[in-house]
Every structure is written in C-alpha cells, then in structure tokens.
Symmetry: C2
Subunit: 124 residues, 2 copies
DNA sequence: TATTTTACTTACCAAAAGGTAACAGGTATA
DNA sequence: TATACCTGTTACCTTTTGGTAAGTAAAATA
C-alpha cells in the first residue's frame, strides 16, 4: 500500500467502500445491527427498539443481513414460537465502524442540526 | 452516558446513526468524499476517479454534500471555467469513519466475497 | 466561423426502496 | 369456541433513487 500511487490507492478505497456499502445500504440495516449489539433479540424486541419499522421491512432486512452472514437466526420450538437473532463474528467485527458512525453522527448533530453542547461525552 | 439504562443508550445510538445515515445515504456520496480525501478536485477529476458516475448524479450529490456542509465549492474565473471541490472541516472529521468503513469493507471481502488473503495490510 | 473545453442541466424513464393494511398459521389460554 | 400471542407474509401502491441521452453556456482556440 505504501508504494501505491495516490490514484491507485483511491481506486482501491473506492472498491472497498462499495463492498461495505452494498451490505450496509438502506434505512434499516444499521439500526437493526445496532439494536443487536445490545444483546440478542427477538423479532418483537427489535420492533420495539426501532419504533417505526414495519414487520415487512424488518423481516426483509433480517433476511438480507442473514444472507450477508452478519446476523444469525435461531428458532426455539417453544409454546408461542420464539426466534432469536444475534450478531455473527462478522457482525461483531462492525463494532468499530459503528462506533465511529455514532461518534460522527453526534458530532454532525452538534455542528449542524443543533448547536446544543449537551450529550457531548463519548459513547461507552 | 455511563448511568443510562441499556435501552436508553440504544435509543440514543439509533438517533445518532440516523443523523449520520441521512447524510451518507446513497450510492455516490461516500465515494465522492473518499475521492476528495485524496486532494481537492475538479468536477472532471472526480468523474475520472468514479468511473461510472454520470454528470447528473455527480452534480446532484455534490450539491447535497455542499448543503450538508461536508464539501465546499470554489469557482475560479479562469479561461475555461474551473471549479474546485474540497472537504470542509466537517468533511475532514469523517476520516476515522471512512477508515473504519474501508477496513471493514476489505475484511468483508476477504471473509465473504473471496477468500483471497492478499491486500490484507492496513490502509495508510 | 467552427470546434473544443469545462461544468453542468434537462427531460424522460426504469428500478429499487419503502409504506400501509390486511391476513396467516400455529399454539395456548379463557 | 373464541381470543390473544408471536412471527411473519402478501398485495398493492407511492416515493426515492438512479440511469440515459441530449442539450446548454461561455470562452478560447484553430
């Protein structure tokens, strides 16, 4: 990498960002992953975390994330059916990325959305 | 933050991620920002970096990024008109986020897209 | 005068993403 | 038998996003 020309590096970065974006793309996937970083959850739990997601979108995006090997689905054969979703190692490997996304989101909000200086402390 | 309940933290994170996502959303914004981390560029330069972007999308997304205060546009009154785009401090503040995105994109490609172990070294 | 360069814009269309509302299927409880 | 719970599914529609192709404007160059 050190010996690559500037524009080669740029091309390489553009490729990597595309790979990441295709998996992350859309309104709901990041929120779903964030919800699951707070513990394994059931369908209804995730719905409660992300208040305005519809069951259609939730099940659709859960399937997509499962196909990308970022989450896994476990079915428990209990009385009312129970399904537990959790992050795979690949999902867990997104932690730093998510942290930076959140930090920047907060920074952006402080700079642009509002000039409130509250809640400026780091996450975790 | 330390004293917040787990689900309050989750709600706060979800809000922050939404703020970030609305700015970053779409196929082209991250690539444009990455292109500009490699130096200030003109319209045509960015087009050369991102080979398959159309002038319509490029100008549309540049405008959006300008409105979000992530890039700035400078018009030089030269012979054939010249416009230079650059990152604002807010744009520069995305560096760590972009780095993590790239790292994860490479990791994802190595794990899933292909099992190639080449090009595993860190960026920069 | 005609062509080139740079930086776009416009009109039109197609595809993808997302929203709404109703329904389904299996089990358990009243 | 009827109702509720849980995890979805389905049909239908609207909105957003992105693509294509052609055109524009202003100045410089041939």
């Amino acid at each position: 990498m050190t010996k690559m020309k500037n524009d080669k590096v740029c091309q390489y970065k553009l490729m990597a960002s595309r790979d990441a974006l295709t998996v992350i793309q859309g309104k709901w996937r990041i929120p779903i992953i964030i919800s699951l970083t707070h513990g394994n959850k059931r369908f209804g739990d995730i719905q409660k975390d992300i208040e305005d997601i519809s069951p259609k979108m939730l099940s659709q995006e859960l399937k997509a994330l499962e196909e990308s090997k970022i989450i896994s689905r476990k079915l428990y054969d209990s009385m009312p059916i129970m399904v537990e979703y959790s992050l795979t190692p690949l999902g867990i490997s997104m932690q730093k990325l998510l942290d930076e996304l959140l930090k920047w989101g907060i920074h952006f909000r402080n700079e642009i959305v509002g000039k409130k200086k509250t809640l400026k402390r780091q996450l975790n």
